[in-house]
Assembly symmetry: C2
Homo-oligomer: 215 residues x 2
């Protein structure tokens, strides 16, 4: 398995891929929400199933091997479109749009019924999932990317489903270890805090860390 894919995709290729496939992810996100919340009649649900099976047959005509991976193009665009938090083609991802600057990364996002744990509240593990991504992107934005070594999440209070804000920054770098901290807040303030240690994997040391423009 190639861990570091570089391709010759042009901007036009990338925009064509986006235009063709991301609407499927967007529609599937709506379906994920409806799958949980619909109270439609068995007859309507039966007809909906037929449409879903038809869509599955069409999309299944040509499927790539394995997973999407992370694709770096020679023109300097990185597509992590299969990523479980930020992937534009991944319906499991909300997806987060993460704004990066040198000192920190942040994101405004909304979590709906599909991210529920306790009634009306965001699943604690979903908050850990999002914080892992935010902290990892903070490490990458600071020029010290890595895979998560340790993640510690402290839940200050319950996080309601709805509009949330997340942010993270690097606290310090010690050799191959990058220490990042961050939090997720609602309109009333911080709900959950995290700190993480990110470690550059052996296979990536000495390689380019990749283009800086993420999509």
């Amino acid at each position: 398995m190639s861990r570091y894919q570089v391709d010759d995709a042009t901007l036009e290729d990338i925009e064509a891929e986006r235009a063709t496939y991301t609407p499927i992810a967007d529609a599937t996100r709506q379906l994920a929400d409806l799958s949980i919340r619909t109270q439609a009649s068995p007859a309507d649900v039966g007809r909906a199933r037929e449409h879903l099976e038809a869509a599955i047959a069409l999309l299944g005509k040509d499927v790539m091997e394995g997973s999407y991976g992370v694709r770096h193009s020679r023109i300097g665009v990185t597509r992590a479109w299969g990523n479980a938090v930020v992937g534009a083609r991944n319906p499991i991802a909300p997806p987060l749009t993460i704004v990066r600057d040198e000192a920190r990364v942040c994101s405004e996002f909304e979590l709906s019924a599909a991210y529920e744990g306790p009634p009306g509240l965001v699943h604690g593990g979903v908050l850990a999932l999002i914080l892992d991504q935010l902290l990892g992107e903070a490490a990458a934005a600071a020029g010290a990317p890595g895979m998560t070594g340790t993640l510690t999440v402290r839940y200050r209070r319950a996080t309601p489903l709805g509009a949330l804000h997340g942010e993270a920054h690097v606290d310090r770098v010690e050799g191959i270890k990058t220490y990042a901290v961050g939090h997720i807040a609602d309109a009333e303030g911080v709900c959950v805090e995290a700190e993480g240690v990110f470690i550059l994997p052996r296979w990536a040391r000495g390689e380019q860390t990749g283009p800086t423009r993420f999509e």
Copy 2:
């Protein structure tokens, strides 16, 4: 918002709900995978989109307010069907089937392309998400349920996408705090370990902790 819902659903009602709606979640899980991996032609994708829009319209005819919650029926069945890890109606959930006994909980599950972080590997945050659920269920199984207070995840090595095993048990209980530990392993051994502190929220103290049969 009622945090603790009790309803009069009969076994027949519950089986009818399962038979009607969980196939939609199953189909949407397939669509989530295809959304990432399809290479179908723009023409086929366009036709698939029309089917998805038709399904959305049918399922959208009658939708419950808010989120699914956690439903306890008087006959002793608990449905956490909207849960982001174990919810049968939630396409974002793999979903995990967690087997409980007094001393520990465990689960055999498979993570496909939609749970990717680094190329070919499970997203570190997805592992945290699943461990949070496993540890929380271990606490509940031991009769000391709670919401996550702190979660610490240690990544021993990269976790490949594919077949995985998870398990957790309670280490000790101190007043309202339950300390649980667990791990996720592949065929070669442990990939990631976690410990968590679970705290019974104020609103749930003095209430029944709910029926013991989870669905």
